[in-house]
């Protein structure tokens, strides 16, 4: 019977699922494996031998540290900007009714639907027109365009579930605007902001396309990796860095997933 939940899926479906998962994740595992290979000029299978040397080689390469430092700085600053702007925008859109509200909502979300290359070209020509030299801040501006969206989406969903009468109740009980924000709004949207912020951080950290158009001579970590692949020397260093990037971006996304899931239960329980 179809409705029998205990009956396991047919063998064919299981095989298909396994094949799908392998297809998705095998290449990533390969990257990890090559981080420990002894062959430095080409990706040869099977690896002729395994070594941990590349970890220390990577550790001692100053260009890796510069790129990593820039990436972290960019991600932190653009996430911070996104948290402030995204929250304010979400509060405005969900808290009040005004003419063109849906349009504003759509316009905020648009950058993430737009291909990165379009955003990149648009920003580059805008910077050129305005005579703004490429710098750390132009990279940040580029990243903020999509980071704001992520924070906004998370915050607006939570604002919609947070009943508007909570704010009125707080005011009614004698709390001014600041106290209401601190004691009622922030605790209710906190996990959503954390989740949105982590996603934004992860997105910014591995962004290539927009960065290519908005960075000058500086290299963020993904850009550095792209350039490094072309050079034949010390190839496994790239793999070591890739492994680190996977870990650095995967953990926040996982945390964000759990935080918002838990948040659903908390926010739903009061109604």
């Amino acid at each position: 019977m179809r409705s029998d939940r205990n009956q396991s899926a047919p063998l064919g479906v299981k095989l298909a699922a396994a094949a799908g998962l392998l297809f998705l994740h095998l290449p990533i595992l390969l990257i990890f494996v090559y981080a420990f290979t002894t062959e430095e000029k080409s990706y040869q299978w099977p690896p002729p031998g395994f070594t941990l040397d590349w970890l220390s080689v990577t550790w001692n390469r100053p260009d890796v540290w510069t790129a990593l430092g820039l990436s972290v700085k960019v991600a932190v600053v653009s996430t911070t900007i996104a948290l402030v702007l995204g929250t304010l925008c979400a509060a405005a859109v969900s808290g009040t009714k005004f003419f063109g509200r849906e349009v504003v909502s759509l316009l905020v979300i648009l950058p993430i639907a737009l291909p990165g290359i379009i955003t990149g070209i648009a920003l580059r020509s805008a910077f050129n027109l305005a005579d703004i030299p490429f710098s750390f801040w132009t990279i940040i501006l580029g990243h903020a365009t999509f980071c704001v969206v992520v924070v906004y989406n998370n915050a607006v969903a939570r604002f919609r579930r947070t009943s508007g009468s909570l704010v009125e109740a707080s005011m009614d009980l004698g709390a001014d605007g600041f106290q209401t924000f601190r004691h009622v709004i922030l605790p209710n949207i906190g996990t959503a902001l954390l989740a949105g912020g982590m996603l934004a951080f992860a997105l910014s950290f591995d962004e290539v396309i927009v960065t290519t158009f908005t960075a000058g001579q500086q290299q963020t970590l993904p850009i550095w990796m792209l350039e490094e692949l072309v050079r034949p020397r010390q190839r496994p260093v790239t793999n070591v860095v890739a492994m680190v990037v996977v870990l650095v971006t995967f953990l926040p996304i996982l945390a964000a997933y759990y935080l918002t899931r838990e948040g659903d239960q908390v926010a739903g329980s009061g109604k």
């Binding site: 009943s163 009125e168 005011m171 009614d172 009980l173 709390a175 004691h183 009622v184 329980s269």
Partner: protein, 330 residues
């Protein structure tokens, strides 16, 4: 004596919509005041004007003699029990109740003590550690009440507080609210669309329609001497009789109200107005009989146990002239 709440020619228009239109109102200190009306009649907007969530577009409001326009909700000595209770989901019951004291800077120990006391007042002692999500609807309502009362407001506003409760619980809460109001002596302003609730609980009732107050008075006044067709019909579903009908049966040429329970049903050839029974429904303690007489549909409520005429049978309706209440509306 200063009024607890006084409206002078107060209007609140939203664009072309006149939610509240030129309302005059005086609520006396210590009274249990009900604002009754169908949805969209302006009663909730009036409540929000008192709370400070809305500002009037015209007229002036004073609360215990102090001008209220422009004063934000957090500076008014008025607290609200919200329709959906609006308990803070992230705080436990005790912190919910103590919230008003916390933002005023009362010490933790002191506000804990007062909050516990308020919980005792609403018969929820020892519930402090629970989260609002773990409470039933009736308990949440009590917490909302305690959270408002702990601030010792001069006026307590209640926005359809019993709407979400089931019948039995609602009746209990009606009684309890009434007792609580007597004991505390705080002015209660209560919004409801349920006429039974308004009549049974309030000292005085204001009946709202279309942003205006149709009539203010004691429940008995409103019920027995409605001034307009709307009030007669909305409060207690009275029989509203057209002027021609009233003129034929011993009254002036005016609209009149005749309460269903004042009509007697009699033999087909006795005295009174003759009519045909159209429907009968059993209401428990009473039966309601719908009779068509001279083109007017009348409802009569007779105690259960009295003999009822059959559907389609001829019957006679009679009433004492004193029960036929002529309304001011021509």
């Amino acid at each position: 004596m200063t009024s607890a709440v006084s409206f002078e020619n107060v209007s609140r228009h939203f664009g072309a919509v006149r939610a509240v239109d030129a309302v005059d109102l005086d609520i006396r200190p210590g009274e249990f005041f009900a604002m009754l009306g169908p949805s969209g009649s302006g009663k909730t907007t009036c409540l929000r004007l008192i709370a400070g969530f809305e500002q009037p577009t015209g007229g002036s409001i004073s609360i215990f003699g102090e001008r209220a326009e422009g004063v934000p909700p957090y500076r008014r000595n008025v607290n609200t029990v919200f329709q959906d209770y609006a308990l803070f989901p992230h705080l436990n019951v005790l912190d919910n109740v103590a919230y008003g004291l916390m933002v005023k800077g009362v010490s933790r120990a002191e506000r804990g003590r007062q909050a516990e006391e308020a919980l005792k007042l609403v018969q929820l002692p020892g519930y402090g550690a629970r989260k609002p999500g773990q409470l039933s609807g009736g308990q949440r309502q009590r917490v909302a009440l305690a959270r408002a009362l702990v601030n010792k407001p001069r006026v307590l506003l209640l926005d359809e507080p019993l709407g979400a409760l089931d019948l039995k619980l609602r009746e209990n809460m009606q009684e309890e609210l009434k007792l609580l109001q007597r004991a505390l002596g705080i002015t209660f302003v209560f919004v409801t669309h349920d006429q039974g609730e308004a009549l049974s609980m309030a000292d005085r009732v204001a009946v709202f329609n279309d942003g205006r107050i149709m009539q203010v008075g004691a429940p008995q006044d409103i019920y027995e001497r409605p001034q307009s067709r709307f009030v007669a019909d909305f409060v207690g579903s009275s029989n509203v009789l057209p002027p021609e009908f009233v003129a034929r049966h011993g009254g002036a040429r005016r609209w009149a109200s005749l309460r269903p329970e004042k009509i007697r049903l009699g033999e087909a050839n006795g005295a009174g107005v003759s009519g045909t029974v159209r429907a009968r429904s059993f209401l428990g303690a009473t039966n309601r009989v719908t009779v068509e007489a001279e083109g007017v549909r009348l409802h009569a409520v007779v105690p259960a146990g009295l003999p009822l005429p059959d559907d389609g049978a001829e019957t006679r309706l009679s009433w004492s002239p004193a029960d036929l209440h002529l309304m001011e509306e021509a």
